[in-house]
Amino acid sequence: MVPITTIHYLVVAAALFVLGVIGVLTRRNVVIVLMSIELILNAVNLNLVAFSRMWGGLQGQVFSIFIVVDAAAEAAVGLGILIAFFRNKETINVDEIDLLKW
């Protein structure tokens, strides 16, 4: 069997990233769009940790922790906006959120 190298992890991360992009571009439900963004951030984290293993340093792992912090902040603010919007307009579909469009 082929030994597992860095490129294998990169392919898995690319697959997760593309799945996240599909979710962001095609779904209507805002909650699922936010979950797809989490998928994208996870793919980036996997890349960083794989490269950190490849070069033998720990910088990649430290960066991935900062990305987890960012993901937490993004989820909190995004879901707060979503609740405020749902209270006003009674919808969570992306294509019905068009207040700034005329």
Partner: protein, 170 residues
């Protein structure tokens, strides 16, 4: 200590991760999507363990699968509507989005195919001491002190913003 059956675990975990991601973007019910996302997150944590990053794996499980997903589930309960499950789930431009995503995947794979030689025959560096968490802590409080403080400030601002926006009246 040499790990055993590495390819088997790698393919199992990555299969789980990709299957979970696929379910996230295709399920009709948002709760099912959230549960599939938890499967993906746990599989990615397993991949971190295979890359000898135990601290990042722990953070992934505690913060992502434990904290962020609970937040998601709460919000799904708060904003779920009966009628959204019966509506169509994909927007009108979905073929364009799907085509663009497939083009992106093809681009990634082409780049990897071209750069494959960079990764072949490169022996992975030997693992240093067995104190990953201690090393990360020293880096966070040494070299990355300023970034660490900025991150804490970012979290504070995010908490305040979320509370203010979700409150009915301030």
């Amino acid at each position: 200590m040499t790990p055993v059956a590495t390819p088997f675990f790698f393919y199992m975990l990555s299969g789980l991760a990709v299957a979970g991601g696929l379910l996230v973007v295709t399920r009709r019910n948002a709760v099912h999507s959230a549960l599939s996302l938890i499967v993906t997150l746990l599989a990615v944590a397993g991949l971190y363990l295979m890359l000898y990053a135990p601290f990042v794996a722990g953070v992934q499980i505690i913060v992502y699968a434990g904290g962020i997903m609970v937040l998601f589930l709460f919000v799904i309960m708060l904003v779920s509507l009966e009628r959204t499950i019966k509506e169509r789930q994909f927007n009108r431009m979905w073929p364009v989005g799907l085509a663009a995503s497939c083009a992106l995947l093809a681009l990634f794979l082409a780049v990897f195919e071209k750069g494959k030689k960079l990764f072949e025959d490169r022996p992975l560096p030997p693992l240093t001491e067995n104190n990953n968490t201690q090393q990360i802590g020293l880096m966070l409080y040494g070299n990355y002190m300023f970034a660490f403080e900025i991150a804490s400030l970012l979290l504070l601002v995010a908490i305040l913003g979320a509370v203010i926006m979700a409150k009915k009246r301030i």
